[in-house]
Symmetry: D2
Subunit: 498 residues, 4 copies
């Protein structure tokens, strides 16, 4: 059975089969072997989708938040039950290795648990008024329908970050998944339906999937009935969404490109650094927004580290991600491989020396050899995010310089330092340290926990999802003052007596 | 002495005189008597302004926040010392009555005190990691130069909301004040200079004023070195700023138009309601973003309330805002009076009946009679914000209907209900109540305290300033994870062993 | 089968039977029919119990909090599975009606969900240092073994409030349940063992039950290895615990007596008030710490309300709490009935007039008729908490007076007002309103949600459990400052140069 | 002029002279030269003091918190104006060097600024109810009169930590200062009176000083009208206060003894360590609760460090703390010197070897030579806090062992590590690291900033003062639920239909 057919079979087992297929819709393909599973009908009319979401909102915002949390708890239970199937679909459709597929579903489960806890929190404030006989409070209210535009590389987890929070916050969700991974989206909806069935009395239209391409995303982003658009993808896409949404004074939550670096200091534990580099530069075949792309090594340890990395890279098992032991699966499509090769060529032109990797494997699906390239400087190609496993290595002699190099790119998602020096680690985490949304010490840039806020600065778009108070993006804040006295004093002592 | 010349004299006394005047710059005018004080040189070159701000940022972000707070504390002290002068300038340049001018400076002082307290808080989080031997924290870091675009009607307070927080957060400020009120801006800078002199070692360029028109604002808003643009003004202006800033993936904080309503229920204290209406509909000559524009009265009390309001309106002292007892000063300029008259005419066409007011006074400066208009429905003119004292009165019979009427306009800034019913008050404050950023009970829509977050939803732009955690807009959030173990576990239990 | 034997059977089904019985231990009795199920062996030696808890602490504090949360999540799952059995045991041993027994287990489940959410929060702070090159943070660390002393009337929920938070916070729990309800405690432990088995690698001794009387509680409370003692029960007991623990500078969390009032204002919805009174004065046969004991009614509605209450009381189905429709089950024991009768007699001596109720039913078990007594003033008997269903009714004419009456008792747990007036409701919730830890509007005093902090002031002991930041009681706070500069500045600018 | 007479003169200049002196009261003495300034009348009758505080409370709790903050702001202003005088009194009465006296008053000023900020915060929560048509909030209410018992070594700052927060929180303060430092207390009150005069309409009795000894403190601690007793001093005193207050179910906030250690690791910056040791072991002549008492040095650097410390100690300028350059002033009294000598003798018996110091200087006042003693183990004398400058030096070979040594004493106030290793630093700050309330990296144990919570665990008493959410100790928490629906649902789905 081809990978695509296996995906189709799983989808049917999850109860999302049949009428979704069509003769002229979106082609469903597996990067594992290039097989196709047929075409999916695209959502023809977006108007009823948005209308249903608005109607659902009017009912759902009246449901007490702890009760909304119960739906998310049930969803978490159903995800646990469907974990293997859903993870397998992630592998089949996005090409991730088994452990990563399972990890992605685990992340959905984790965020369910977190959101359930939030459902009795969503804390606003009470605060003292300057006026006698008044009290003030700040309350967070449901916002309205949320549009989630997700990318192929985290086909389900990023939606779950958004959807679980949105649902607990009182907001219905419209999901426009990547054209490259619609099946995982439909499978997730099927799992969600199971939770809905157990829950009982939720309104129709709490969660909807729109199958379609860029046009569908753009049309939805322009709809004034959708107060929040949460979009993950390229900086180019994000910029377009941001402008569209700004033009109607809506709210955007953007998770765009990264160009993530690791600084390796002389005191670093090199053994740990090697392992961290391997996972973060090569995991998901270099197709994470948090993938490691730049390795900034102190000159005293650069040769040793590169040598160890070269050996590690050359022993990496590349192949079908379903197979035991494989660590590097396919790129998502041929365009990705072309970008990989083009960047390697540009790197060479710009003075780079390929240490290892490059080139495609001769088999079905798009398999390439992850590359390490030593660069003389952060040239144009280094400043640019190529969504493939190329690791640029550069050296530094002074820690201030290393931090400057880290910050010199347009993107600002993730960053890390390997060091055992308190001074270096804390400088890296200081106001004049890393300018990224994520900064790690002795951990690679990739693989965040759901308890922290996830997202980045600059061209990464500024959005934050998942933990901390990221939920506030899904609500509107209301400052409330109640006068229970018989007087009408004005703030700041203003007097105005008619 | 003309009002404009009085303003010029005060400015000189504050130490901001001399070389700022020019033969062909921005004309400085007082709405009180239409007098002019000369022309101000416009800022010729914006490039060095931004460059200075960036340089100041690099120094200022390293200054400990409590020390930054000390500068703001000194500024508060200097504002207390200059309160009368600065308030007088507000009166002279914006036309506010004396008590409102003083209230506006008091608001600057209040926000200084608040910001000083924040300077030892700016709380991020520590949180537990799911990985053994790891700890996580979230730290808020300085963001960079902040552009503040302010409007004529709060010529200094809104800047202070932004600037005091920005300075404590580690960000230099560039201020583009309204073309109609440049002198208060220059005077505020002179007061700020006094604080700087006492402080001692602050970098150059922490606070800069740009004298200029819309072009200057647009050029600055487009500059990628300015991560945050905080703009107050019309929805039209805000939409343009939002798109410009979104196009470079910057951050906007928008405070745009309001169309604020008061719901009056049968149990309302009518005496209090009358006083609240008078202040909020007529104060600042109806030129607050939070001015009351729509009065939604239960049919059983509408006639009584309107009768009392008519009497109150007809006794309002209109005139030179410097004079004791005057409650209604001038409109800002002739265009405002034209808009006032045009809206009254449109209201009449749309079925409105003028209860009182309308028409200009025959004297220097632009003085009009605040108007009350009973409307049969929320017609086009009611949905639109006219920046002048027109109060549209409408009736309702059912509380749900009243809330729907309140929410039916495009803007979402401020709202209020007068009632003594717990059920009505709390419904108004619930998830299915007012959709505004501010919701008051037994208080008019106008006159917020600085401790709460200020701002609104929908066409109001979504920004929040001043209290609560509004300071977070002036910082960037960093999620930090430190591994102090000898292992390298991955989140979500992912395994990847090279 | 007697009620006690039914309890024994259920316990065995849950896997906690056999060797726990003994010929000379604690007698296990059901208040439903006075039947006994045998005697339970008392915990002979407390030393190994504490030692095991300390050892467990050293291991458990190193387990990441989100992983600790997973144990609590599994416990919640097991509680869902065992809900009916456990609820039945609550009925059999404490005499609650079926719905209340189920509600109590539901409360355990709710707090599990809440604690799971907390396991990724337990938020401390990051904050700015006044010294350059320093950062500050506040971290909450595990505290150590927690002793939970629980009362018969919430035989399992209160333990769960404590235990679920303690476990997530990193603390093992030692449970000394009431001598009157040991079986529910043992059953709960059996359910917890199931969760432990699924969890896998938790240390021994995370949760232990001590079967015994007051001596066991006192000995444990004096043990310096137990940093926190959380005790629920009478004010007399609490005072003793507080002194013992204070003598070793430990921490107490006390939930002691209440003497809870409802104020009924003229605008109150009397239909709702009647229902609220009935549930909160009569539910659990008046044996909740939050039971309504004082009804403070405006003189204009007192007669009408009392008449409706009299009718409601006289229709109350009293009897075996296992039976459908029964609302009033037995008192816990004969001593409780004696206290009930003695208080009624004292009330009569002090001018009270019994409106309805009083007297025992002639059947096995201790069943009495809930009483309503009109009192001329808050006499001695009214100031005192009798743990039985006596409702004292008093009248007032002025709202200030009503609030004073509410606050005039030594206890400070729960309170409420029925009114539709914003002014009255908000005054009641103001700094000069109710002095209790819980204050409700249009809700009886009884039946809190787990999301809020639960507990009271004055003789109620000051502790807070369950929601909000009650978890902080189970942790220790550490203020951490890291100097990553090369200088050693002192705070407050102190200079000390050797 | 003797030191005591200089103090008397300053006190008069501050306006607190005259009638306070008496022939048979508390003797006022300066440790600088042993001179006496006369006797102070002790507070004869405590009853009216408490009654006044209660009355003040009833008025003050109704004053809006931001307005209460204005009083504290004015107090900060007056402290700035009186800084030199008040600091000089600290020097004269407590014997601190000039810089430390100034630092102590600066700390008062800092906490004023912080408290002013809090006056618009005092944040409670709004949170979602599980019941439809309900809202929940948590509000922090004023608590009542607060008793502050302060110690001689921080004669004014610790009171200010308490009083500024208490006043902003709505609580009057009764101050029982140390018998050894009454003049600074009276001077502080005089400064506070200036603020009150400017403020205008505060109630009488907001802040009162009780002159007296231990009896006065005990009597006040037992008074049930004082809900909070905040006491700083010895563990013995604290234990007594804790039991007294617990017996009436009041609240204690205890800051008791410390036995603070510094761990020095091989990677430590020894130059910084030497300076940190000198300040923290010798500053305030070793009479801070955070003074360094135990130096735990890695065996590889112990000899080098001790040698440098020996040299530093032997060059310490000892003498009149008013003199420029002096770093070591007098002990507070002869009893302190005796304890110093007795501990040195016991240390010798227990195997200690005096490296330097010991012995008294031959001059008026009690001047001793700070001592360093190498100990073979943490013997009995090491486990005990001697309030004098004795530094015990011990060595370790393994970092886990160092942490265990740090934690092995009964006290738990402050702790620190000098290291540049991330692993060591973070382990020290972890759940299995330092067990103290304060844990520093590359900073001595002494000299906290006011933004963090100050206090410690175990025999240190568990209280927290100053920053973070320490203000909550001065308020009572109220969980508020408002039902604005027409239904009366019960939590946890309980059903109870009469």
């Amino acid at each position: 059975m081809t990978a695509a057919n296996e995906a189709r079979t799983i989808l049917e087992r999850l109860g999302a089969g049949g009428p979704i297929w069509s003769s002229d819709g979106l082609e469903v393909r597996s990067p594992i072997d290039g097989s196709t599973a047929g075409r999916l009908a695209e959502t023809a009319d977006l108007e009823p989708v948005v209308a249903r979401a608005v109607e659902a909102f009017h009912a759902w915002r009246r449901v007490p938040a702890p009760r909304r949390g119960e739906l998310v708890r049930l969803f978490g239970d159903e995800l646990r039950a469907a974990k293997d199937d859903l993870a397998r679909l992630v592998t089949l459709e996005a090409g991730k290795i088994v452990s990563e597929g399972l990890g992605e579903v685990q992340e959905m489960i984790d965020v369910c648990d977190f959101a359930v806890g939030l459902s009795r929190q969503l804390y606003g404030l009470t605060l003292p008024s300057e006026r006698p006989g008044h009290h003030m409070r700040e309350t967070w209210q449901p916002l309205g329908p949320v549009l989630v535009i997700s990318a192929f590389n985290f086909p389900v987890a990023v939606w779950a970050w958004n959807a679980c929070l949105a649902l607990v916050c009182g907001d219905p969700v419209i999901w426009k998944p990547s054209e490259k991974t619609p099946l995982t989206a439909l499978a997730t909806q099927a799992v969600f339906q199971r939770a809905l069935a157990r829950f009982g009395d939720a309104p129709e239209g709490l969660s909807q999937v729109v199958v379609g391409g860029r046009d569908a995303g753009e049309a939805l982003a322009a709809d004034p009935r959708i107060p929040l658009v949460s979009a993950t993808g390229s900086t180019r896409m994000g910029r377009a969404v941001a402008q569209t949404v700004a033009g109607r004074l809506g709210r955007s939550l953007l998770e765009l490109g990264g160009n993530n670096a690791m600084i390796v200091a002389p005191s670093a534990d090199l053994e740990m650094a090697v392992r961290a580099v391997a996972f973060s530069a090569v995991g998901t075949c270099g197709q994470r927004c948090t993938s490691l792309r730049r390795l900034l090594v102190h000159e005293s340890v650069a040769d040793a580290l590169v040598a160890r990395l070269k050996a590690a890279y050359e022993s990496l098992p590349i192949g079908d991600p379903r197979e035991d032991g494989v660590l590097v699966g396919p790129l998502i499509d041929a365009a990705a491989a072309e970008a990989f090769e083009a960047s390697l060529a540009r790197a060479a032109e710009q003075g780079g020396e390929v240490v290892t990797g490059g080139g495609r494997l001769d088999r079905d699906g798009i398999y390439i050899r992850p590359a390490i390239v030593r660069m003389p400087a952060q040239t144009e190609v280094v400043m640019h995010e190529t969504f493939a496993p190329i690791l640029y290595v550069l050296t530094w002699s002074d820690f201030d310089q290393a931090v400057q190099m880290q910050n010199a790119v347009p993107q600002g998602l993730s960053s890390c330092v390997f060091t055992d020096s308190v001074r270096e680690a804390e400088q890296f985490l200081s106001a004049w340290g890393s300018d990224c949304g994520i900064a790690n010490v002795n951990i690679g840039p990739s693989g965040a926990e759901i308890g922290g806020a996830f997202g980045g600065e600059k061209d990464t778009g500024g959005g934050r999802e998942s933990g901390s108070d990221a939920w506030k993006a899904y609500m509107r804040r209301q400052t409330q003052t109640v006068n229970f006295s018989r007087d009408l004093p004005l703030a700041q002592g203003v007097r105005f007596e008619v």
